[in-house]
């Protein structure tokens, strides 16, 4: 029974990683950049929901929507101010800028909310599900997180396959110049990508803090790094890859915490990443790149 309980916890944590990883992987696929500030957008989203619920006494749904709206705008603004001017610069310059934005967000949060952790009230209203005479308890957060993850995954897949903007996104991710010559506005496409990724980050932030209710300015950084790992693990640029990588990473983390060592669980997670990249450098579902010679 503990095994099943761990499995469920792993899938739940993995779902959060997966939602965050989608943001990394979409931005990478389309703008070919690693947005290391993505993790901190999660933190901003969580703070927004926290403020909306604690200070404005808004219902959870309204708080989530507000957090998503703020993060969407934040994502678009970050892209426009920090990354867009560097569109033609080397990827290293963009990477360093992203790290800079990450610290900027953390320090702004520190100024506004202070370093003391805030206690986040779960957004989920209903009770936990108790099975087998209480031997297996599935928390309501778990249920909501997993459902949210599945819905987001399906929605995003449909969006990229069926809508005009989604097709444009796939076209830009394959060949930016050719897409432009097809009349696709690449700048708008990149902005939309950041907007979607950041809105997802807000959801992830709320879900994460509902399950692990400590909120401080650095809350987003570790899940951010792990979700990035998950994206690379699954094959960066691939939406199903981000999903798979996220879930696997969550499982590995929870199982190593349960059966090996709590202290070493992060080390094990990253060790697995290194091994996977040695065997499959493009990740589990990553595209094989055949260079023409």
């Amino acid at each position: 029974m503990t095994f099943i309980s761990n499995l469920i916890n792993g899938i739940s944590l993995g779902s959060v990683y997966a939602i965050i990883a989608l943001g990394y992987t979409m931005v990478y696929g389309i703008a070919k950049m690693l947005n290391f500030a993505h993790g901190d957008v999660i933190m901003v989203g969580a703070y927004m929901a926290f403020c909306a619920m604690s200070y404005l006494s808004l219902p959870p749904i309204a708080a989530i929507l507000l957090a998503m709206a703020v993060c969407t705008v934040l994502g678009i603004v970050i892209e426009a101010l920090a990354y867009k001017p560097l569109r033609k610069a080397s990827s290293l310059a963009v990477l360093i800028t992203a790290i800079g934005v990450s610290y900027l967000l953390q320090n702004i949060a520190l100024l506004i909310w202070g370093s003391a952790p805030k206690s986040f009230n779960s957004v989920v209203g209903f009770d936990s599900i108790s099975l087998f005479d209480g031997r297996l308890i599935i928390t309501s957060e778990t249920v909501v997180t997993v459902i949210a993850c599945i819905v987001i995954m399906l929605g995003l897949t449909l969006f990229t396959k069926k809508t005009k903007i989604g097709k444009g996104m796939r076209a830009v991710s394959e060949d930016k110049d050719a897409a432009e010559l097809m009349g696709i506005n690449v700048n708008v496409t990149i902005s939309v990508t950041f907007a979607i990724g950041s809105a997802l980050a807000a959801i992830a932030g709320v879900l994460l803090c509902s399950a692990y209710p400590t909120l401080m300015p650095t809350t987003g950084s570790m899940p951010g790094i792990k979700a990035f790992t998950a994206a690379v693990f699954g094959g960066i640029g691939s939406i199903p890859g981000a999903m798979l990588g996220g879930i696997l990473l969550g499982l590995i983390e929870i199982f190593s915490k349960a059966y090996i060592s709590t202290a070493l669980s992060d080390a094990i997670v990253f060790a697995v990443l290194i091994v996977v990249l040695l065997v499959r450098p493009t990740g589990i579902l990553g595209k094989k790149i055949a260079e023409k010679v």
Partner: protein
């Protein structure tokens, strides 16, 4: 439409007789670009009639693809103006220029190879499907009709190139010739007034080239648009082009009908080198 007599128009250019009283689809005046100190293209002035099939030829490295990149603003011109349908394309982005009416293909095929054949065309139709993000998220009914419309149009375009049976295959998995046709179909999907084809016959065998020539004529007649092509296959160029422009070292060395170009000593010299004392052959 058969070949038409070429007649002079103002500004020292020629267009097919049937296009004479209409605004040329494309006009360039003293177009040029420098890469560092090198004048890659200089004083490039042409006029293309609304339904003209024109050719841009010249030895390798003459600057032909650079001209295409200038016309689509992939490179910003250093000097000169481009008039598309009488309107200047200065300060327009590549995407905007495409919407104004230029579509192109590439020397090396650049399809969205992980997408299906039909989706490649539908990305081309992108411009014309009136579907905003809000519409696709909220007005599901409108979305459905516009999606069906784009699907129908895409299928029509594919059947024009006899590719309707390949619609759901992955673009990258098609045979070479079909990929070339798909690239043209994708470009046509943006509803251009002029389509630029960069070496459309490259890597084709004679029967495929013959089919391509037929297709180029059909494109012009069916869509009533201008075609401008870069090509090394002289047989193709002389056969279908009405006006030809010869480029060498970034400069126009000759303009005229196929017959005029064939007998132009400057052109012969550019391709084969000087007759007297010149043993150096052209790159062709």
């Amino acid at each position: 439409m058969s070949k038409d007599k070429m007649v002079p128009v103002p500004s020292n250019a020629i267009v097919p007789e049937r296009d004479i009283n209409k605004i040329p689809i494309l006009e360039t005046h003293h177009l040029g670009i420098d890469f560092g100190g090198l004048k890659a293209v200089d004083e490039f002035s042409i006029t293309v009639g609304r339904t003209e099939i024109s050719g841009l030829i010249g030895p390798n490295g003459a600057g032909k693809t650079t001209v295409f990149n200038l016309l689509t603003n992939v490179y910003q011109p250093t000097r000169g103006t481009i008039l598309l349908d009488g309107k200047s394309t200065a300060k327009k982005s590549t995407a905007q220029i495409n919407k104004m009416g230029i579509a192109r293909t590439f020397q090396n095929i650049r399809l969205f190879s992980n997408m299906s054949v039909i989706d490649n065309v539908r990305v081309g139709l992108h411009n014309s499907t009136n579907q905003s993000l809000a519409a696709s998220l909220t007005r599901l009914f409108g979305y459905k009709t516009s999606e069906r419309k784009s699907l129908e149009e895409a299928m029509e375009l594919l059947s024009f190139f006899h590719m309707d049976d390949m619609a759901n295959r992955q673009a990258g998995s098609l045979p070479y010739g079909a990929q070339r046709r798909l690239e043209i179909a994708r470009a046509l999907a943006t509803r251009p007034g002029i389509i630029l084809l960069d070496e459309p016959a490259a890597g084709m065998n004679p029967s495929e080239t013959a089919e391509l020539m037929e297709n180029i004529r059909r494109i012009r007649d069916n869509f009533n648009i201008a075609v401008m092509l870069i090509e090394h296959d002289m047989n193709l160029v002389m056969n279908i082009c009405e006006g030809i422009c010869v480029l060498d070292h970034g400069k126009v060395i000759a303009k005229g009908s196929p017959d005029e170009i064939r007998s132009n000593p400057k052109v012969i010299e550019a391709y084969l080198g000087k007759k007297k004392g010149g043993v150096e052959g052209g790159e062709e």
